[in-house]
Amino acid sequence: MAREITYANAVLEATTQCMESDASVYIIGLGVPDPKGVFGTTLGLQEKFGRVRVLDMPVAENAMTGIAIGSALVGMRPIMTHQRIDFMLLSLDQIINNAAKWHYMFGSKMSVPLVIRLLVGRGWGQGPQHSQSLQALFAHIPGLKVVMPTTPSDAKGLLISAIQDDNPVIYIEHRWLHGTFGDVPKEMFTVPIGKARIMKIGRDVTVVTSSYTTLEVMKAARLLSEDGIDIEIVDLRTIKPLDEEAIAASLEKTGRLLVVDGAWKSFGVSAEIIALASEKSFAALKAAPRRLAFPDVPTPTSWALANHYYPRTIDIVNEVRCLLNKSQLTESALGIDPETPLDVPDKNFTGPF
């Protein structure tokens, strides 16, 4: 039975159901049991499951990650949360040197079933140290899996898969998705790690994207369709391992590729997808593949600058049009208000960020 709930609620529901069905699952992170409950994703968990399994922690990301790893070695299944992915940079030693390698380097004798939930911030002047989107760093590391669900339903199904997975899984949530609604099955279900979702079937151009950016691509798709341009949207859902087949199958059909990634362009996830397509679908490509991503610049704080930092819907439209050798359009031609601020998910937003 599905009902409409928010992404945040879907995350909460997945956590709740996993904790109900498996006593070894616990959740730890800054503010997990606090009144805001990590933007609602952990609200009420401590009341339900107690202080042992639902807990706050010291601001000590590296050791706390090692501690989660240690507990996993003796049979626990930790979920660790970070309110921003930027803070996780303190724990890359434990994530990369230990969690990602423990299974391999000890000859498959142990495993580290650890989920690390990382939130990507955007807007309201969070600036250079609170708006990074670092999926590319994890995607490069063997031994890690990386998922970035877009819809509430995938948020739930992928979180359950991540918790049940015996490997360290990096689960990345875009802050602007928490408030979005979608149909989500009430019961426990899984979305397989490693499978993309065709968000929209189309024939002209394959647009590969993920997470919040998928919503922007869907907006662009509607605008494009008004001009008779029919894009196919591949929502990756999982960044590592990539669903190479889904990308190749779509390219076989369209022959044209745009990758839209909500992160820095150079050496990012978008590069890997273009590389894959060029290697494996070369014959199918009718035009040079393109990517649209953040400029190689730290995130500026002033909304006057953020407005020009983040790609706009018009940019997606024009990238697609470019792939089809069509003229570039302006926002006013499409009826988009060029004053739309990009530092808030909608005009009435005033936080919390």
Partner: protein, 321 residues
């Protein structure tokens, strides 16, 4: 305490308080589009500490930096412009409230990664030492920052090299909504830890500006005479919400009783009462101060509001020096 010093401490606290309250007021016009972490209730630490510093001394701070910035002499206009995201903000609009800087005043930066500036401040002291200069370096941070490993690592190196750095911990008992009890063992004692590294220090009432002033004076003399690093911990309390212009007791993470107990110990009001009582200050002077500061604030706010936003292209410049 000499009367002029006392007045100056009071004035600094009052100014910080009034600036923070002005921010809280204008914030809800939603034109300051960035997170702000107000230090209302904690002004004594900034005022008492910085009163001992010279212009050539350096300060680095965290997300809750407005007080440190102002007490060290940072430009008010550049700060308001920065929070408003304007071109002439102290960081050109690229940083916002969480990234204040004023090189003329020796403020080398503030950043919101918890504990991120602790080693940087030690490094500034290391640079000072290598260059044989006579300034000192000060790191302001919160109780949560002492949980990060870099805190211990920085104490170790500062003691090893006898660096002229003062570590100032503002213990307001919370990290966002998380009390000390869920983060630090009951028996933990930061002063003992610092001493375990060979770092001298002192801990006390962070709402008593004269105490802060005196403790900081010792620390500054110690560091400036090249005897090494110093650790100061001041217990204090944040009155407003962790981040934003409002109060947040209704969330229930702290009790009204606790809150009002601390309000009675408001560093500004208690000091004002004390000075009035001693006759060091009069209601008239206080009003003059307030009028002057309010004028200054109004000017700075309207300066910031009228200032132009950075040009779009500015988003892409300044990545590399």
């Amino acid at each position: 305490m000499r009367k002029d010093s006392a007045l100056s401490l009071y004035y600094q606290m009052l100014r910080i308080r009034m600036v923070e309250e002005a921010i809280a007021r204008v914030y809800t016009q939603w034109q300051m589009r960035c997170p702000v972490h107000l230090c209302i209730g904690q002004e004594a630490v900034a005022a008492g500490l910085c009163a001992n510093l010279l212009k050539k001394d350096y300060v680095l701070s965290n997300h809750r930096s407005h007080g440190h910035y102002l007490a060290k002499g940072g430009s008010l206009k550049a700060m308001f412009s920065e929070i408003y995201g304007k071109e002439n903000g102290c960081s050109g609009g690229k940083g916002g409230s969480m990234h204040l800087v004023d090189l003329d005043a020796g403020i080398l930066g503030s950043t919101p990664i918890v504990a991120g500036i602790i080693p940087v401040a030690a490094g500034v002291a290391f640079g000072i030492q290598m260059k044989k200069e006579h300034s000192i370096s000060v790191a302001f941070f919160g109780d949560a920052a002492t949980e990060e490993g870099v805190f211990a690592e920085s104490l170790n190196f500062a003691a090893l090299k006898k660096l002229p750095v003062i570590f100032v911990c503002e213990n307001n008992y919370f990290s966002v909504y998380s009390p000390l009890s869920v983060r630090q063992p009951k028996k933990r004692n930061n002063l003992s830890i610092a001493r375990g590294f060979g770092v001298e220090g002192e801990e006390g009432d962070g709402n008593d500006v004269e105490y802060v002033f005196k403790a900081a004076k010792k620390a500054v003399m110690y560091a400036r005479s090249l005897r090494g690093p110093y650790y100061l911990q001041f217990d204090t309390y944040r009155f407003r919400e962790h981040c934003g212009p409002n109060f947040d007791n209704e969330l229930g993470y702290r009790t009204e009783i606790e809150f009002s107990r601390w309000c009675k110990r408001c560093p500004l009001e208690t000091y004002q009462r004390k000075l009035l009582h001693k006759g060091s200050i009069t209601a008239k002077i206080i009003n003059e101060y307030k009028t002057g500061i309010q004028l200054e604030i109004n000017e700075a706010v309207s300066f910031a509001q009228k200032s132009p936003f950075p040009k779009p292209g500015e988003a892409f410049t300044g990545v590399y020096a």
